[in-house]
C-alpha cells in the first residue's frame, strides 16, 4: 500500500519514469521557481532517489494559502504534465532547507538549489528533509517513524484550520454557541437581569402611554370637555378642573416613573456590566497563568492580551447596551406601529414612507464613519505611543538634546489627531443634519396631512393628531438602533471569539493527571538523549545526555546562543524536549506535579524580575510564610542586606516598576536572596553574577558556596572565575556537549575551555587585575 498520497498526475509522471508510488517515502509540493514565479512542483523522496517534478509557471491559477479554501481546491488545477528529474541519492550528500525572508529553498550539496516554495509547504518540506537525513544517517535509537501529517482540514466543510493546534473551523463554528457562551457569564446575575428587563419594558410601556395622555386624553377629552369620557373614569358633575389636575398628575407620574425606571435600570446595568467584565477578566487571567512559556514567546501575545482585555468590555457592552435593546426596540417598534395603524392607518402609512430613507441613509454612511473613527483611533494611538515613548526614553531625549525635535514630532501627531477629530465632527454634523431632516420631514408631512384631516373634520381630532405625532417621534429611536445593531453584533462576537481563543488554548506543557508524588527529592538529574528546539526544525539542543549527581555543582560554559539557558529551562519544565527525556531521581519530570517540581527547582537567571512591592515581599516571593528573621538571613547570604539598609525605608522600601529604582547588581542580589529563601533542592544559576562588580561577585560567591551545600547546582557563566568551585564542567557548543570534565581535565584538553580561560586571564593580565 502506498504511504504517501500523491495527486494522480504526479503518480502517473513518476510511474512513467519507473518510480512506483509504493516506493515513495515522503513527498512535498513546491509552488515557486527560482525566478520568483508561482509554478507547481513536487519533490518526492524514495529510498534511493530524489525526484524533482516541475511545471511551467501558470499565473492564471489561483493560489490558495493556508486557511483559505479546501484541500480539494488546492489540488484542483494541478498541471497534468510534469517535467521529471531523477537524482540518485548517491549524488546527494546533504539536503537542507534555507529559509528566505518569506519563502524557502531546498538546497542539495550546499549549493544546488533544487526547489523553491512558499512558507505554505515549508513544514512538509522539512519532513522530507528529515526523512532524507534518516536514510543517510540511520540511528537505530532514534529511528522514530514520523507521524503522518495531522489532519489540518475541517471534516465538515473541508476548510483548512487557520491554527492547527486549535481545531476550530471558523466557518463551521456556530455563532450562536459563542452567543450562548457569553450569556453563560450573565447567569449568576439572572435576578438583576430580570429586574433590568422589567425596567426596560416598563419604560417602553410608559413611552407608549405618554403620547396618548398628552394628546388624545388632554386635548380631545379634557380640553374638549368630553363628559362621557369623564363619566367613564369616574368624575361626575363635569369637574373639568379636577380632570385637568388628574391628567396633569397622571402625566407627571408617567414621566416620573420613566425617569425612576431609567435610573433603576442604569444602576442594575452598571452592576451587571462591571461584574461580568470582572468575571471575564478573571477567567482570562487564570488562563494566562495556565499557559506555557512558549505561548508568551509567540509573536502575537502582547497585542492579543491588551486586545482581549478591552474585548471583554466590548463584549459585555454589547450584551448590555445592545442585546436587550433588540428585544425592547422590536417591542417598541411593533407596538407603536400597531397603535399607529389602529388609530389611522392612512396616516401611519404616510409616516412609514420616509422611515426607510433614514434607515438607508444611516446604513450607507456608516462605513465612512468607521473609517473616520478608525483614523482618529490611529491618530490617538500615535499620540499615546509617542508620549509613552518619550516618558520611558526621557533620559535619552535629554542626553542627546532632542527635546525640540520630539516636540515637533509630537506636534505633527497631535495636529493629525485634531484633524481626525474635526473631520468626524464635520461628518457627524452632515449626517445628523440629513438624518434629522428626514425625520423632521416625516413629522411635517404627518402634521400637514393630519391637520388637513382635522380641518376637513373627517372624524379626526387634534388630540389624536398630537398623540400620533408623538408616536412618529418614538419610531426614530428603534429605527436608528436597527441601522447599526448588526454591525455591532458581529463586532462584539468577534471580540468574544478572540477572548475564547485565549480561554480555550491548551497549554503545551501539561501536568500529568496522576503525578508521582515527590515531596523530598534528592536532586539527581539525568538528561537522556535530549533534543529540543523552539521551532521544530531548528534544534537548539542536539541529542544531549548528561548526568548531574546529587549535591554536585555543575558548571556550563559556552558562547552566547549555544543553548545553555535552554538546557536549564528544560529541567524546570518550561518546555518539554522534542526527543529524549529528563529524569529527576529516576522519575521522568513529565510525571511530576508542577508544584513538586518547581518548588524544588529555583532559578536565578540573567533576567531578573522585581515585582511591585516591598523588598521584603520580593524576597519572600517563593515562600510568603517566611519569618522576618529568615528573610534577613537570606538577604545577608545574598550580600543584599547592606544595600537594603542603605535605603531609607529598609526592608519596607517599595521597589519594582512604580517604586525605587535598583541597579542591575542590586536586582540580581534580591533575586539570589529569593532563591535562597525558596530553599530548593536544585539550584540553577544562569549568569547569576553577571551584572555585579568583581568585588560583589566575590561576596556573592561566598554566599553561593554556602548555598550550594546539600544541593544540586547548575551554574551557567561566561566569567570562568564564577565556576571556580564547580565539581565538573561541560562545554556546550552549537547545541552539543563538546567537552566534559573537571577543570584540570578540560585545561589539559587544550580545547575551547582552555582557549576561553587563556583569553580571560590574559585580558585580566592586560588590565593589571589578578
Amino acid at each position: 500500500m502506498e504511504k504517501v498520497k500523491l495527486p494522480k498526475s504526479v503518480r502517473a509522471a513518476l510511474e512513467a519514469q519507473g518510480v512506483s508510488s509504493e516506493a515513495v517515502l515522503r513527498a512535498s509540493a513546491a509552488d515557486m521557481n527560482t525566478s520568483c514565479e508561482y509554478a507547481d512542483g513536487y519533490v518526492v523522496l524514495t529510498a534511493d532517489t530524489l525526484c524533482l517534478l516541475t511545471s511551467p509557471p501558470n499565473p492564471g491559477r489561483v493560489r490558495s494559502f493556508k486557511g483559505y479554501g479546501t484541500k480539494s481546491d488546492a489540488d484542483a488545477e494541478l498541471p497534468q504534465e510534469w517535467a521529471v528529474k531523477l537524482l540518485p541519492l548517491t549524488e546527494v550528500q546533504n539536503l537542507k532547507i534555507e529559509r528566505q525572508v518569506a519563502c524557502g529553498l531546498l538546497i542539495a550539496n550546499d549549493g544546488d538549489c533544487l526547489a523553491a516554495f512558499s512558507n505554505l509547504h515549508i513544514k512538509n518540506m522539512h519532513r522530507l528533509v528529515r526523512a532524507f537525513d534518516r536514510l543517510k544517517n540511520p540511528q537505530p535509537d532514534f529511528m522514530q517513524e514520523e507521524e503522518d501529517e495531522e489532519e489540518e482540514y475541517c471534516p465538515k466543510c473541508g476548510t483548512m484550520y487557520p491554527d492547527k493546534n486549535r481545531k476550530i473551523c471558523p466557518k463551521c463554528m456556530d455563532r450562536s454557541t459563542i452567543f450562548m457562551r457569553v450569556l453563560r457569564y450573565f447567569r449568576p446575575y439572572a435576578g438583576k437581569m430580570a429586574v433590568m428587563l422589567l425596567c426596560f419594558f416598563g419604560i417602553a410601556g410608559m413611552n407608549l402611554v405618554w403620547p396618548y395622555l398628552n394628546g388624545t386624553v388632554l386635548y380631545d377629552h379634557v380640553l374638549k370637555k368630553d363628559t362621557a369620557f369623564l363619566e367613564r373614569i369616574g368624575i361626575h358633575d363635569a369637574g373639568f378642573v379636577t380632570a385637568l389636575l388628574l391628567i396633569v398628575l397622571a402625566m407627571f407620574f408617567a414621566r416620573l416613573s420613566i425617569q425612576l425606571l431609567s435610573i433603576l435600570q442604569g444602576v442594575f446595568t452598571a452592576q451587571i456590566v462591571t461584574s461580568v467584565v470582572r468575571d471575564l477578566k478573571k477567567d482570562i487571567f487564570k488562563a494566562m497563568g495556565r499557559l506555557s512559556i512558549s505561548f508568551y514567546k509567540s509573536r502575537q501575545t502582547g497585542s492579543l492580551m491588551t486586545r482581549v482585555l478591552s474585548d471583554a468590555e466590548r463584549v459585555t457592552g454589547f450584551f448590555i447596551d445592545g442585546a436587550p435593546y433588540i428585544l425592547i426596540h422590536t417591542f417598541t417598534l411593533i407596538s407603536t406601529l400597531t397603535v399607529m395603524f389602529s388609530i389611522r392607518w392612512e396616516l401611519a402609512l404616510v409616516s412609514c414612507i420616509l422611515l426607510p430613507v433614514s434607515v438607508v441613509v444611516g446604513f450607507k454612511l456608516r462605513p465612512y464613519f468607521w473609517r473616520l473613527f478608525g483614523r482618529s483611533h490611529r491618530a490617538e494611538r500615535a499620540v499615546n505611543s509617542q508620549v509613552n515613548d518619550n516618558l520611558t526614553g526621557a533620559r535619552v531625549v535629554k542626553a542627546f538634546g532632542q527635546e525640540k525635535r520630539e516636540l515637533s514630532r509630537f506636534h505633527t501627531n497631535n495636529a493629525r489627531m485634531m484633524d481626525a477629530e474635526l473631520s468626524i465632527v464635520k461628518f457627524d454634523n452632515k449626517f445628523t443634519f440629513l438624518y434629522h431632516t428626514t425625520q423632521e420631514l416625516t413629522g411635517f408631512v404627518v402634521w400637514f396631512i393630519g391637520a388637513a384631516m382635522v380641518l376637513r373634520g373627517t372624524n379626526f381630532e387634534l388630540g389624536v393628531l398630537i398623540t400620533f405625532a408623538g408616536y412618529v417621534g418614538q419610531l426614530s429611536g428603534p429605527m436608528n438602533f436597527f441601522s447599526h445593531v448588526f454591525h455591532w453584533w458581529s463586532n462584539s462576537l468577534n471580540s468574544a471569539q478572540r477572548m475564547f481563543e485565549i480561554l480555550d488554548s491548551i497549554p503545551e506543557i501539561q501536568e500529568s493527571e496522576n503525578p508521582v508524588p515527590m515531596p523530598e527529592p534528592k536532586g539527581d538529574i539525568m538528561l537522556d538523549h535530549v533534543t529540543f528546539g523552539y521551532e521544530v526544525n531548528k534544534p537548539v539542543l542536539k541529542n544531549i545526555s548528561l548526568h548531574i549527581r546529587e549535591g554536585e555543582m555543575l558548571g556550563i560554559v559556552g558562547r552566547s546562543g549555544a543553548g545553555k539557558t535552554t538546557l536549564v529551562n528544560l529541567i524546570s519544565r518550561m518546555y518539554d524536549p522534542q526527543e529524549g527525556s529528563i529524569h529527576l531521581d529516576g522519575v521522568n519530570v513529565r510525571d511530576l506535579a508542577f508544584h513538586d517540581l518547581r518548588r524544588n527547582v529555583a532559578m536565578v537567571s540573567q533576567e531578573t524580575y522585581i515585582f511591585m512591592g516591598t523588598v521584603e515581599q520580593n524576597i519572600a516571593y517563593a515562600n510568603p510564610k517566611a519569618s522576618k528573621a529568615e528573610i534577613i538571613r537570606a538577604a545577608v547570604l545574598a550580600s543584599a542586606h547592606d544595600f537594603i539598609l542603605r535605603m531609607p525605608d529598609g526592608y519596607d522600601t517599595i521597589i519594582g516598576s512604580a517604586g525605587r529604582e535598583l541597579s542591575g547588581g542590586e536586582r540580581q542580589r534580591i533575586s539570589i536572596a529569593r532563591a535562597i529563601l525558596a530553599n530548593p533542592k536544585i539550584l540553577i544559576l544562569d549568569e547569576a553574577t553577571a551584572s555585579v562588580d568583581t568585588e560583589t561577585e566575590k561576596a556573592i560567591q561566598a554566599s553561593i558556596n554556602y548555598l550550594i551545600k546539600g544541593r544540586t547546582t547548575i551554574s551557567i557563566a561566561h566569567r570562568l572565575s564564577t565556576l571556580r568551585d564547580a565539581d565538573r564542567l561541560v562545554v556546550i557548543d552549537n547545541g552539543e556537549i563538546t567537552e566534559e570534565g573537571t577543570q584540570q581535565e578540560l585545561t589539559a584538553l587544550h580545547g575551547t575551555y582552555y582557549k576561553l580561560m587563556e583569553l580571560q586571564t590574559k585580558a585580566l593580565a592586560l588590565k593589571g587585575i589578578e
Binding site: T34, S35, C36, E37, N58, P59, G60, R61, V62, R63, S64, F65, K66, G67, Y68, E98, Q100, V101, A102, C103, L105, I107, A108, D110, G111, D112, C113, A116, S118, N119, I122, P162, D163, P170, M173, Q300, S303, L304, R307, P367, W370, R371, G374, R378, L493, N494, Q497, E501, R559, D733, N734, L749, H750, G751, T752, K755, L756, E758, L759, A763
Partner: protein, 196 residues
C-alpha cells in the same frame, strides 16, 4: 571580546583541539571584523554558480557561494547590500554600497538573488476581504497571479511601512505588499479599512 573558537572569516585551519591559542591573531581578526569592506566592480568578481546561486572572488579569497542581503530592505533596496558567508554563523564578507558601483551583469545577478530572498508578491487588486473570528480572508490579484490567503488579525500581520505602504503577512508568514494604498479604488479601500 571576540567570539572564541572560530576565526571570523573563512574556514579555520586545523581542528578545534589542535589550534594554539594566539592572542595576537585573535586581535587581528577582531580588527578585521570591525572594518567595513566595500565591494565594487574593481575589487570583487561575482559569478553565477551552476546550482543557481552566486560566487564571489575578492582578492585572494574565493567564496563558492554567498548570501546576498539588503541592509534596508524597505527603505533602500538597491543600496547597502551585504555579502555574507552562507553558513550558520553568517559573517560579512563585504558590502556593495550601491548597485551602481558594480557592473550591470553583477547587479542583475545580485538582484535575482535578492528577489528570491525577499519574495513578496505585490497586491494589485483586492477582490474581497472577509473578516471572521479574528482571521481575515484575503482574495487578491498580485503581480504573480491570483492569491487567497488568511491572516491572523490579532498578531502584527499588517505592518505599515509608511503612511501609504503596507506589508501583509499570512499565517505562514508569506508576505504580500501594497506599495501605495492611495491608488486603490474606494471599494477596495473600504474592504481594507479595518487594517488601515
Amino acid at each position: 571580546m571576540p567570539p572564541f573558537g572560530k576565526s571570523p572569516r573563512g574556514p579555520k585551519p586545523g581542528g578545534d583541539g589542535e589550534e594554539e591559542f594566539n592572542l595576537e591573531q585573535m586581535e587581528k581578526e577582531t580588527e578585521e571584523m570591525l572594518k567595513l569592506r566595500y565591494l565594487n566592480r574593481d575589487n570583487a568578481q561575482f559569478e553565477r554558480t551552476k546550482g543557481g546561486f552566486v560566487s564571489l572572488r575578492v582578492g585572494e579569497e574565493f567564496y563558492p557561494r554567498v548570501h546576498v542581503i539588503r541592509m534596508f530592505p524597505f527603505s533602500d533596496p538597491t543600496k547597502y547590500i551585504s555579502i555574507r558567508t552562507p553558513d550558520e554563523h553568517s559573517k560579512e564578507i563585504g558590502v556593495v554600497e550601491d548597485m551602481k558601483q558594480v557592473s550591470k551583469e553583477t547587479a542583475e545577478m545580485l538582484t535575482e538573488q535578492l528577489n528570491l530572498r525577499y519574495f513578496t508578491p505585490i497586491i494589485q487588486k483586492i477582490i474581497n476581504i472577509k473578516d471572521e473570528y479574528g482571521y481575515a480572508y484575503f482574495d487578491v490579484v498580485t503581480d504573480r497571479g491570483a492569491c487567497r490567503f488568511t491572516i491572523n488579525i490579532g498578531s502584527h500581520s499588517v505592518v505599515h511601512l509608511s503612511e501609504t505602504r503596507i506589508l501583509i503577512s499570512d499565517i505562514d508568514e508569506n508576505r504580500f505588499e501594497i506599495p501605495d494604498v492611495t491608488v486603490l479604488s474606494a471599494k477596495e479601500l473600504k474592504m481594507l479599512d479595518l487594517f488601515l
